[in-house]
Symmetry: C2
Subunit: 190 residues, 2 copies
Amino acid sequence: MKDILYKYLSRWTSLGEEDQQAIVNEIRVEKLDKGAVLFKQGDVPAACYFILEGCVRQYAIDEDGREVTTNFYTEEQAIAIFNHHKSDKSSEYTFVCVEDSVLVVGDLDQEKDMYDKHPQLEFMTRRMMEENFSKVQAEFAAFIASSPEARVKTLLANRPSLFDRVPQHQLASYLGITPESLSRIKKRIG
Amino acid sequence: MKDILYKYLSRWTSLGEEDQQAIVNEIRVEKLDKGAVLFKQGDVPAACYFILEGCVRQYAIDEDGREVTTNFYTEEQAIAIFNHHKSDKSSEYTFVCVEDSVLVVGDLDQEKDMYDKHPQLEFMTRRMMEENFSKVQAEFAAFIASSPEARVKTLLANRPSLFDRVPQHQLASYLGITPESLSRIKKRIG
DNA sequence: TCCGCGCATTGACTTAAGTCAATGGAGATC
DNA sequence: GATCTCCATTGACTTAAGTCAATGCGCGGA
């Protein structure tokens, strides 16, 4: 299981094996059941997460009471960017496990300690953040420019496993369409 | 003009007046004409920017040759997040002035020097990045969840000045709709 | 094992946005 | 000042997605 972590550390840092082991040994890994909530919209997050196995859905309830799914995190993805800019630092999103999942959990109040002990971690965090940011920007651009049908095709091409792992109506919400439309589009392009 | 900068520094750092002046004096401010290009899609950006006055449009040409506008930057906004994650660090977007503009230009190869001299700047940069990230995420979520008409209403509410400053067909592209639809929606909700 | 609920699918209909085409106005150029 | 070009608007028509409603399958709980 932890080999995923080693792979990730190697990709993003130039740490030696001993340092990597030191980090991995300090790390808390938790197993969460399907339906488990990492934290809720309005909560102040106490930890950041890195997915070793499973799938986490990010969603918000908007002003009209509708549930909007804004992301799915799967293996090797980090949930680490929150609303630092909001004065109360509360989350605008709820994060919930779509499947039984195994996550690295990093307590935010130990963040500084970890960075002091392992300076390269801070660099890695920055890089992950930049990568995530670029990705979200690119996805946003693609979303703006494409029709619902094109969006479904893109998602099928880029993350086909989501269609097996995630309920259709949540996928539809993530794609900005109704479940009925998603069903019809799938039939049309199937 | 530079009072905008002071305001911004005060908001984001706890620097004393002397330090602020030191920073502001080191800074390069440039006046650019409407139509001037900061850098093009495919270029490796040499600088980051902060808008004191004017308006910059961010766009990309997609695979089908269509121009997709992905953002408009106006007063007090920073253009500072690039594709650090791409191996060649080239930009996926072109940035062009929609109006005559006045920008702070920060050479990226002097970035480290500036951070060494003024450590708080690095903190400020991180914060700006986090804020931008949260904002893009929130905008994305809102975009997913709303119809073209609702998106127009939201933009009218949040950034009404764009409708005066920016050509309609570019706004339409930014909103993910055709210029014809934008025209009709405006008439409908006007 | 059986029952019940949630959810995916399908159908009929409505509606809003896309497409194609024409018009007309404002600003730029000479 | 006249012309040209670009672009916003408007119209007619097409199409795809939304809405409302019914059905039926599958999964989980008792």
